[in-house]
C-alpha cells in the first residue's frame, strides 16, 4: 500500500490493489473440487473474473479506519440533526446484538430452536405497545418508511373489509416526505392540508377536505416544528366522526415517553423509529427498524407472521387471513430489536420518562439561548426540538446552508436544514437528552458567533467549511454527469 501519511486521505480501495495480494483465510478443500465445478454447466460459469481489489488485511483495516476518520458521528461530535434523534448509542446494545445466540441464529431455525429470540420479540412488541398505548405491535417493518407503508395498507384493508371505498389520505404540508410517498405507494391519492403560521394543522382546511372518501389523516406528533399539536384529540375525534382513521408518524416519539401516548390521544396506528427513540445506531444511514403499532380493530391486518405466545411457547403465527402480507423476507430487523430491547430494559419506566423530560428541557434551553439571534419558527415552549429560521441572516447574504457549513468548522455537525418545507431557511435543532448543558452552551455560543459573523464578515462564512476533508462540493456536476462507480480513473 502506498503509505499515505498526509492529513488528507484520498484513496479508494481499488487504488490500493496489487495483483496477487490477499486478505482472506480459507481452508484447503477436504472434498473434491473439480468434479463439482464440472457439474456446473459451463454456460452458467463466470467467464471474466470480477475486478475486485487485491489487498492485504492491514490495507483493509487501515483504509477503512482512515475513511471512518472522514466522518462526524455522535461518538465524536454533537449532532443536532433535527427529526433524527441523534442520541448516544449505548455500547451494551452492541454487545447484546453480538451474542452468538442472536447474531448467529438462522431465521428459519425451527420455532422450538429459537424460543429466546421469539420471546425477546414478543416482549419488545409488548413494551412498545405499552409505551404507545396501542393494542398490538408488528416488529417487521425495516424502517420508518416501511412502517408507514404497513400502517397505511392496514388502514386500507380495514376500510375494504367494511366494504368502504375510500381513496384519499390527508397529510399536512409540514410532513416528512416519506408520508406522501408511502401513502401513494399504498394506492391512495394524497391531499395536502395547510398548516397555520405556528405549524399547527389548519382545522378549517382539514374539515374542508375531510369528506366521505378520506381513508385517513396522517400527522406527526409533536409536529415537525417541534411543537405539540394542542388540538390533537379534537382532530382525532373529528376524523373518527367522518369514518377516517388517524395515523401518527412516530418520528418524534422521543418527546413524549411516559408523558402521553399516541393511543390515548386517539390514534389508530403509529410507527416507531427504533433508531431514533430507542438508540439503535444510525450506521451512516441505516439499518434502522420501523415497528408499527395498532389499535385492536386493525390487529387482524398486521403483517405475517405475528410472534405469538401459546402458553409457555412462542410461535410465528401465519394463519391470519386478513393480513396485509409480508414486508421483508423474514421477521424484521431482529438485530435492532435486540438493541432496542436492551435499551428499554436499561431505562425502565422512570428512565424513559426522564429521557423525554430532559430532551424537552434541552431543546427549550437551546431555543431560549438562540431566540435573540435567530428567528424562531413557532413560539414555544417547544418539545424535543426547535426550528429556527435564518431569514434575518439571509438578508445579509448568509443562508441556512452557509450556517450549517460554518458549524462543521466549529466542531459541530449541522442541524437539519430546509425542513420543514413551510419554514423559510429552516434550521431544525434536536439536541437530545444525552447531551450535557456544557455541550449545549458550546453549541449555542457557536451559533451566536455565526450570527455575529453574518453581520460582520459574511464572506468568511461562504468559504466554510475549510477544516473538513473536502470543501463544498459541486452537486450540480454530480447530478448532471453521474459518476456512480469507479472505472479506473482518478
Amino acid at each position: 500500500m502506498p503509505y499515505d501519511n498526509q492529513p488528507a486521505y484520498d484513496r479508494l480501495v481499488f487504488e490500493l490493489s496489487s495483483p496477487g495480494r490477499m486478505a482472506f483465510s480459507l481452508p484447503e478443500s477436504d472434498v473434491p473440487v473439480e468434479p463439482a465445478l464440472a457439474a456446473v454447466p459451463e454456460k452458467y460459469r463466470r467467464r471474466q473474473p470480477a475486478a475486485l481489489p487485491e489487498v492485504s488485511e492491514l490495507d483493509v483495516v487501515r483504509h477503512y479506519s482512515r475513511l471512518s476518520q472522514m466522518n462526524y458521528g455522535i461518538d465524536t461530535h454533537f449532532y443536532p440533526l433535527g427529526s433524527c434523534t441523534m442520541k448516544y448509542n449505548p455500547r451494551i446494545n452492541e454487545d447484546a446484538a453480538r451474542l452468538a445466540g442472536f447474531a448467529r441464529l438462522h431465521p428459519l431455525a425451527a420455532e422450538a430452536l429459537s424460543q429466546g429470540a421469539l420471546q425477546l420479540m414478543h416482549e419488545l412488541a409488548g413494551m412498545l405497545a405499552e409505551i404507545a398505548g396501542m393494542d398490538a405491535v408488528s416488529l417487521q417493518p425495516a424502517a420508518g418508511a416501511q412502517g408507514e407503508l404497513a400502517g397505511v395498507l392496514m388502514i386500507r384493508a380495514y376500510h375494504e373489509a367494511r366494504g368502504e371505498k375510500r381513496t384519499k389520505v390527508l397529510i399536512p404540508d409540514s410532513a416528512h416526505g416519506t408520508n406522501p410517498a408511502s401513502t401513494a405507494l399504498a394506492g391512495y391519492e394524497v391531499i395536502e392540508v395547510k398548516s397555520d403560521a405556528e405549524g399547527q394543522v389548519d382545522l378549517g382546511d382539514l374539515e374542508r377536505h375531510l369528506a366521505a372518501d378520506v381513508a385517513a389523516f396522517m400527522i406527526t406528533v409533536p409536529n415537525t416544528l417541534g411543537n405539540f399539536e394542542p388540538r390533537v384529540t379534537e382532530i382525532a375525534e373529528l376524523c373518527h366522526a367522518r369514518g377516517a382513521q388517524v395515523y401518527m408518524d412516530g418520528a418524534n416519539l422521543n418527546a413524549i415517553l411516559g408523558l402521553t401516548r399516541p393511543g390515548d390521544l386517539g390514534f389508530d396506528v403509529c410507527h416507531f423509529n427504533l433508531h431514533k427513540t430507542f438508540t439503535t445506531p444510525h450506521g451512516g444511514g441505516g439499518p434502522g427498524a420501523g415497528p408499527v403499532g395498532v389499535k385492536a380493530h386493525l390487529e387482524p391486518f398486521l403483517p405475517v407472521p405475528v410472534v405469538a405466545r401459546r402458553e409457555q411457547t412462542y410461535v410465528l403465527d401465519w394463519k391470519r387471513p386478513q393480513s396485509i402480507g409480508k414486508l421483508q423476507a423474514f421477521w424484521g430487523n431482529f438485530g435492532m430489536h435486540v438493541r432496542a430491547y436492551t435499551y428499554i430494559r436499561t431505562m425502565g419506566a422512570d428512565g424513559l420518562r426522564a429521557v423525554s423530560e430532559n430532551a424537552v428541557l434541552n431543546a427549550n434551553y437551546v431555543m431560549k439561548r438562540l431566540e435573540q439571534h435567530y428567528d424562531v419558527a413557532a413560539p414555544g415552549p417547544c418539545m424535543h426540538e426547535c426550528v429556527l429560521s435564518a431569514r434575518k441572516q439571509k438578508k445579509l447574504g448568509v443562508t441556512a446552508m452557509d450556517i450549517a457549513k460554518r458549524l462543521l468548522d466549529l466542531g459541530f455537525y449541522a442541524p437539519s436544514t430546509y425542513f420543514p418545507l413551510i419554514v423559510e431557511e429552516a434550521l431544525m435543532i434536536e439536541p437530545t437528552e444525552t447531551e450535557s448543558k456544557e455541550t449545549l452552551d458550546a453549541f449555542c455560543e457557536a451559533m451566536i458567533r455565526i450570527a455575529r459573523e453574518a453581520e460582520t464578515a459574511p464572506e468568511a462564512i461562504h468559504q466554510a467549511p475549510v477544516t473538513t476533508p473536502v470543501r463544498r462540493l459541486d452537486q450540480t456536476r454530480a447530478a448532471r454527469e453521474p459518476n456512480l462507480r469507479w472505472r479506473g480513473q482518478r
Partner: protein, 447 residues
C-alpha cells in the same frame, strides 16, 4: 442514569434561563386529559451486569450456528465472516453517523458507499448499483415497481421457483398500484420456458427469475432474457452476489435489473435481519432507481469528493411522486459487504464459490446415498439442493437437531407441493466430517 448527564443543578439553571419553574411548565400544550397519570407498565430497569445475565439467558435458548452445524439456507447462509468486519463497523465514526446530508463531514460513509456501488455493479455485470435497500425481498418488490414505472405495463410474471418469502413481499408491494402477478410454473425444479413464452406477453412489465432458484437449481437466465425481451418486458434476476465469483454475472446473461440478498457478504445471520438488499440495473434506468445513490464530483478546490446525487428521484423532494418511499439505505450492512469484498477480493470470492459448490456436491452425493432419500430435482445446482425424504421432514429435522445438526428447511411450511422435501444448503464452512456426520444421522433418522 448513565445516559442522562443533566444534574439537578444543571436542570435548575436551564429552567431559570428559560424562565419556567419546572419541566411541567414546558408540557402545557399536551391536552391534560391525554396525559399519562401513571408510570408506564414496563419491567424494572436492570443494572448492566444483571441485564447481560438476562440477555445471555435468552440467547442461550436459541440454536445458533456456532453451537449447531448449519445446513439451513433459503435466503440466509452461514458463510465465512472475516474478523476485521466487526471491528471496523464498530468504529463510532461509521456506527453513529447518519445519512450523509452534509457531505463535507461524511466523506467516509460516502466513499464506502461509492466503493460498494462499484463492487456490486461489477459483480452483477450491471452499469449501476444503488446504495442498498432493506433486504432481498424488498429489493425484488422495488424492482417490480420500477419495471411497471418504466414501461407502464400491469402484469408481472414470476416463476414458481422464486423464493416464496420474496413472492409474499412482492404481493404486498403490488397491492397499492394494483399490478397482477402471474406465475410461470417450474414443475421440474426450473422454470418451464415454454410456459414462460405463453405467460409473458404485451401486458408483461417484467419477468422475474431467480438463479440459483429457491430449490437450489440453476436457471437458464439467457433463455429467460430472450423470452422477456421478445415481449418488450424487462428481465429481473434474483441473484445471491456471494455466488458471483464462480457463477456468470446476470448482466452478461441479459438481465435488465439484478436484485438479491447480500447477507452472505459478511452480514450476520441475525435471525433474519438487518440484511442487505442488493439492487443493480442498466444505465437506462438510472433516473428511475429507488433508494440512494452516491456520485463522485469535485470540491471548490477541484479535489475529488463524493455526495448523494440524483436526489430528485427521492421522497424528500418528490414526495408523493417519488420513485420509491424508501428514505434510508442499510449503510452499515453495505459497509460490511464492502469490507468483505475488499478482504475476499478477486481470488477469495472465487474460492468461496468453488468450496461451497464442492461441499454441496459432496453432500448431495452422500445424502442421496441414504436409502429412501433422493435428489428431488435432477438439475444442475450450486450450493443448495432439494432432497425428497421417505419420512416427515419436520420430524427428521427435529431429530437431527437433538444431535446439534440444523438439517435444512422442511418445505411444507412455505411450499405445500413439496411437503416431503428438505432444502439443504452447504457453504464453504462445512467440513467433510460434518457432512459425513449429517449423512449418518439422516440414515438413522429415516431408517
Amino acid at each position: 442514569m448513565r445516559y442522562l448527564p443533566n444534574t439537578p443543578q444543571n436542570q435548575r439553571a436551564m429552567l431559570d434561563a428559560i424562565g419556567v419553574r419546572s419541566v411541567e411548565d414546558l408540557l402545557v400544550k399536551i391536552p391534560a386529559k391525554a396525559r399519562l397519570s401513571r408510570p408506564l407498565a414496563l419491567p424494572p430497569a436492570l443494572a448492566e451486569s444483571d441485564l447481560v445475565r438476562h440477555l445471555r439467558g435468552l440467547a442461550a435458548r436459541n440454536a445458533d450456528a456456532d453451537s449447531f452445524t448449519c445446513f439451513l439456507g433459503a435466503g440466509a447462509y452461514d458463510h465465512y465472516v472475516p474478523s476485521p468486519i466487526s471491528h471496523l463497523v464498530l468504529r463510532g465514526e461509521f456506527l453513529t453517523a447518519y445519512t450523509p446530508y452534509q457531505p463535507e463531514a461524511s466523506q467516509g460513509t460516502l466513499r464506502t458507499i461509492y466503493e460498494y456501488q462499484t463492487m456490486i455493479a461489477e459483480l452483477t455485470g450491471m452499469d449501476v448499483a444503488n446504495a442498498s435497500i432493506y433486504d432481498g425481498g424488498s429489493s425484488l418488490a422495488e424492482a417490480v415497481l420500477m419495471a411497471h414505472a418504466v414501461n407502464g405495463r400491469g402484469e408481472i410474471a414470476l416463476t414458481g421457483a422464486v423464493n416464496p418469502l420474496y413472492r409474499r413481499v412482492v404481493e404486498t408491494y403490488v397491492d397499492g398500484p394494483g399490478l397482477r402477478l402471474r406465475e410461470v410454473p417450474a414443475p421440474a425444479g426450473v422454470t418451464d420456458l415454454d410456459a414462460a413464452r405463453r405467460v409473458v406477453g404485451g401486458k408483461t412489465a417484467a419477468l422475474v427469475v431467480q438463479s440459483p432458484n429457491f430449490y437450489g437449481c440453476l436457471e437458464d437466465v439467457t433463455a429467460a432474457a430472450e423470452i422477456a425481451h421478445a415481449a418488450g418486458a424487462l428481465l429481473i434476476v434474483v441473484s445471491d452476489p456471494v455466488n458471483l465469483g464462480v457463477l456468470e454475472a446476470p448482466g452478461r446473461q441479459g438481465a435488465d435489473v439484478v436484485v438479491g440478498e447480500g447477507q452472505g457478504l459478511g452480514v450476520p445471520l441475525g435471525f433474519g435481519g438487518p440484511y442487505l438488499g442488493v439492487f443493480a440495473a442498466k444505465q437506462d434506468f438510472v433516473r428511475r432507481l429507488p433508494g440512494r445513490l452516491v456520485g463522485a464530483t469535485v470540491d471548490l478546490d477541484g479535489a475529488r469528493g463524493f455526495a448523494l446525487t440524483l436526489q430528485t428521484r427521492e421522497q424528500h423532494i418528490r414526495r408523493a411522486k417519488a420513485t420509491s418511499n424508501i428514505c434510508t439505505n442499510v449503510a452499515l450492512c453495505a459497509l460490511m459487504a464492502t469490507i468483505y469484498l475488499a478482504i475476499l477480493g478477486k481470488q477469495g470470492l472465487v474460492r468461496v464459490g468453488e468450496l461451497s459448490t464442492a461441499k454441496a456436491h459432496y453432500a448431495a452425493r452422500r445424502l442421496a446415498e441414504v436409502p429412501g432419500v433422493t435428489l428431488r430435482f435432477p438439475q444442475p445446482f450450486f450450493k443448495e439442493f432439494t432432497l425428497k425424504l421417505p419420512k416427515s421432514p419436520e420430524r427428521v429435522a427435529a431429530r437431527l437437531a437433538r444431535q446439534n445438526i440444523l438439517a435444512g428447511l422442511p418445505l411444507k411450511g412455505l411450499d405445500r407441493k413439496h411437503a416431503d422435501c428438505l432444502l439443504v444448503a452447504v457453504t464453504e464452512k462445512r467440513t467433510k466430517d460434518e457432512i459425513d456426520a449429517f449423512a449418518d444421522a439422516l440414515g438413522k433418522a429415516v431408517a
